[in-house]
């Protein structure tokens, strides 16, 4: 553990907000300045995160910890901690954020506000990934809502307001359960020990009856399950994707969905291990149902963005199934799939945005034959699609197979069902590819292929898709110790 006065974590955390302020201040005069500021900030955060990746040690504990008093009266502290899992997700967040900024480069409707909101969102997500004090965590958790709400509500498509409100209400209801449970836990812990605190490590020691534990656990899970989103709490996601701006979709898929899973493994499972263990089968069943259900719904959609949105739900079902197996291989696979899914889906949404820019539509019935007019764009789209349907050697497969192997060792039947899900993903993904790339050309009004900025977005994503598919070992090495530490605290089945 590095204990220094100079707090790297806080710097990393608040850098985007600083960037956001600069955006707001300068942007009103020169509309092209905010995007550069956003880009520079995002790149700086990415570089910082990557540097942390280089210097981090791989022993299971906290690599960096920052602990300050904040509101002493209520025992609320400003505690940030970094381990392998959060580090990996922060690197992912920072990377996806750079992509999101680049994707929305041509944003000309109040760009200073747009980019400022994007940056605030980044701080919120990083905060969620670092916070170890439950109130601090909750604040960042809620902070994620606000920029996203405006991003969808202001910069989205036709039904943007509906989608934004739906997103907000869904997640808010979940979060309120979380807040109630946090306060309840705080009071119980205080009554037992006389020490009123929101610190995660302390609260883990709280003695709870089985009923209390289950209740708290379910409240926590309500917030996280909505965010994942786990079937049947998913219905906000397709709307948010379909109506949100491209950067919103990239961020939703890349950052926000991950926080739900992160919340489960960082808070819900370690705080209430006994309840979590009892709940695992339920979680697995929901995951499996969601896996197939979302795939079937995706199969019947016409809007390609909605197809990808439902495919996200389906893939996240896979991730949750891996958690439900609760062993080293499956959980490592889940986390790996989460990262890979973010990159694949981010790539998909970026490519879809470019397709929409050229054809003016996302409707499968109107699209077609894009390979003829835009072969390069089409090739990237095909690559991301293949990664998404789990072609070995591309990103998603590595996570999926680990999950399957891990799950099979505990519950063979679950794994066999999940194998069927691989077929489902092929069915709906190929239908989408078919309607978009092949067949008679839809004659896009803009026949230009990729420009330099678009190459700049798609190449890194594509390289990562291939790299993480062929050599995901560095990521798995980062995850190994934290995951085995997690499995110890999260209780044994």
């Amino acid at each position: 553990m590095l204990a220094t006065d100079f707090s790297i974590l806080s710097l990393l955390l608040w850098l985007p907000v600083a960037g956001a302020l600069v955006c707001l201040v300068t942007g009103s005069r020169a509309p092209s300045v905010p995007r550069w500021i956003a880009l520079v900030t995002a790149v700086l955060v990415l570089v910082g995160a990557l540097l942390l990746m280089l210097v981090h040690d791989r022993s299971g504990g906290w690599m960096l910890l920052e602990d300050r008093t904040w509101i002493e009266a209520f025992g609320i502290r400003y505690t940030l901690g970094l381990d392998g899992i959060s580090l990996l997700l922060i690197v992912l967040t920072a990377f996806m954020q750079v992509m999101a900024v680049l994707v929305s480069w041509r944003q000309d409707k109040a760009p200073q506000v747009f980019f400022a909101l994007l940056l605030v969102l980044e701080t919120a997500v990083i905060g969620v990934l670092l916070a170890l004090d439950l109130i601090l965590f909750y604040l960042f958790w809620e902070l994620m809502l606000i920029p996203m709400f405006f991003l969808i509500g202001i910069w989205g498509y036709e039904r943007r307001f509906y989608a934004a409100v739906k997103f907000f209400l869904f997640t808010l209801v979940g979060s309120l359960c979380l807040l109630l449970a946090v306060i309840g836990l705080y009071l119980l812990h205080g009554a037992q020990t006389g020490v009123y605190t929101f610190a995660l490590e302390a609260l883990k020691q709280t003695e709870l009856s089985a009923g209390q534990e289950l209740l708290f656990f379910l409240c926590f899970m309500a917030a996280f399950a909505v965010k994942v989103p786990l079937f049947p709490f998913h219905s906000w996601l397709p709307d948010a994707h379909a109506e949100g701006p491209p950067a919103g979709s990239v961020d939703l898929a890349g950052l926000l969905l991950k926080t739900g899973v992160y919340g489960m493994i960082r808070f819900a499972f370690p705080l209430f291990p006994a309840a979590a263990q009892k709940f695992l089968p339920v979680l697995a069943v929901l995951a499996l149902v969601g896996l197939f259900y979302a795939a079937w719904v995706a199969f019947s959609q016409l809007d390609i963005k909605r197809i990808v949105a439902y495919s996200s739900i389906s893939h996240l079902g896979f991730v949750i199934l891996g958690l439900a197996a609760w062993n080293q291989i499956a959980v490592e696979g889940s986390l790996l799939l989460m990262v890979n899914h973010a990159i694949t889906t981010g790539g998909m949404f970026a490519a879809i945005a470019m397709i929409q820019l050229r054809t003016g539509t996302r409707d499968l019935n109107q699209l077609g034959g894009l390979w003829k007019s835009q072969p390069n764009l089409a090739a990237f789209f095909l690559l991301f699609s293949m990664a998404s349907l789990g072609l070995p050697g591309l990103a998603n497969f590595a996570g999926e197979i680990l999950i399957l192997i891990g799950v099979f060792s505990v519950k063979p039947l679950w794994a066999l069902f999940a194998v069927g899900g691989i077929l489902m993903s092929a069915v709906y993904t190929l239908r989408m590819v078919q309607g978009t790339l092949w067949g008679a050309s839809c004659e896009p009004f803009d026949r230009r292929d990729l420009d330099a900025r678009e190459w700049g977005i798609l190449i890194p994503l594509a390289l990562l898709v291939v790299l993480l598919g062929c050599y995901p070992q560095p990521l798995l090495d980062v995850l190994r110790e934290p995951v085995s530490a997690l499995l110890l605290t999260g209780g044994q089945p």
Binding site: I401, G406, R480
Partner: protein, 621 residues
Amino acid sequence: MATLLVLILLLPLAGGVVNACFGNRLPRPVPVFIATGSVIGSFLACVGSVTAAAGDGYRLTLFTWLQSGNFTADVGLLFDPLAAVMALMVTGVASLIHLYAAGYMEEDPDQTRFFALLNLFVFAMLTIVLADNLLLLFLGWEGVGFCSYGLIGFWYSKKENADAGRKAFIVTRIGDLFFAAALLWLFALFGTIGIEVINGRAGELAGTTTVTLLALLLLLGACGKSAQLPLMTWLPDAMAGPTPVSALIHAATMVTAGVYLLCRLFPLVSLSPLAMAAIALVGVATALYAATCALAQHEIKRVLAYSTMSQVGYMFLAVGLGSVSAAMFHLITHAFFKALLFMTAGCLINLAGHENDIRRMGGMRQRSQAVFWLFSAGLVCLAGAPLTSGFFSKDLILATAFAKGDLFHQGLYGLGVLTAALTSFYCFRLAYLVFGGDFRGEELPHAPHALMLWPLLPLAVLGLGAGLLNLPHLLGGHSWLSGWLAREEDILHLSLDTEYLLVATAVGVFVLGWLAAHLRYRRFREHEPRGLRQFLLQGWNFDALFARVLVRPFRAAGRFCSHGIETGVIEGLLAGCAATCVSWGQRLRTLADGRVNHYLYGLLWGMLLIVGWFLLRAVVS
């Protein structure tokens, strides 16, 4: 040696990647040179390293692909005699097909994509061949599926082509699921996915139901890729792809991957007599089914597609009979003559002015002597004419079945012989329709490129002569292939009488098929496809059956989920909640209507309630 071995894989991969990424920026013939050169290089590397495979083989681990908990998947190669034979065949045939494709695709504007995919295919296929663990094998397994998808639908502007590609991908992926399930189970049993360890420890499972189920899962996996019953419907449609693709993927290599998989895991598979019987049955049933379908086809490539399915059925039969060397022998000879047949069919289609339909061919010999001889060479091999390679390899399988002696295997032998008769019949039907009489079409010939003819010559020689690879003792051979594969137990020791009887039967059915075709097709007569003919033309209507039994319910389930549950139940519930909130809000709103007297009433009643409450409390206490 390690370098050469890596080069076998790396060259096609590099060629494919370079062409995929930069091919469009290179001047016109360069991508073709890269593609062809890399595959030929791979072939040479294969030839150079083949000695290392002798005996126990050569192992090489490159790097760790995935490692988590006690699970490890390396990128490692196992170059044993079986892999070496297969790799030599794959790279050799692929080299010739690449040369042919250079001529065939000369005028296609999109040839870079074609060659990139073709190279990637060769890489994926070689991964199947060389992988030392099941997960890496699975990578190749899915990889060939993707390349096949991309190449079947290569001319994507026509929707049917793209649809055929998708069908191939999805149907073969159904098989892949079973393979994946077997992989998971094997890891759970042995704690490893290394092929050698699994084969070595398979004996622990002898006599259990587990091993039967595992073998059946592997069989289903193999059925998908090899287009065996019941996962066979994709192969005829796959003929929508360019002809070199049909020759390489859908004749010589990918469709035989299933056979190879079963051979690779033979020590495991062979532990279950039940599964072996199932493999033999699937094989012979497919062989017969496909042969009957081939009788009625109109398109030259579809005839060949069904014949491929049928011949792969023979290979499955051989595996089911426990004779790895017979399966591999037929696999190799078939690869030679079927690749030859497909590529000459490509020439014929060009010569007939891009006409696929054999009813509108005829008299093709006048258009090109060379093509006539090459196609005939392929056909006699397929029909099993004495002394050609197809004769020996098919005969070995049938003799093995016969030699088992019991009723079940005699039955298999009988069906195999029947199929052989049908095969000979449809081969000569094809010959008479294509070459007999006068040209019945209208199109002018489109002369094939020289590159489309020369690579066929070695294939014709190999097709006619590859029987020498495993010449039985009866004819003075030494069963070289069985020896190389260390499968001496596959060598038959039959009495001379039996041998002569079997050979005589084989020759007999060949002549019978020829005679029947001669009588029926010597003169061309057009028939409307009706009744049985239509039934066979449609492949026993399996497509319609699957559409009704599988596709339609699947779509219905999709509609049910998206319209019924998603928009109906879930969105409905949400809308209901929202509407309830709004209506309550509206009702409460009427309370705040701005009339002072209403507010005063409210105040009064409220005061009364509070005072009443306190009074009540005072009274009760």
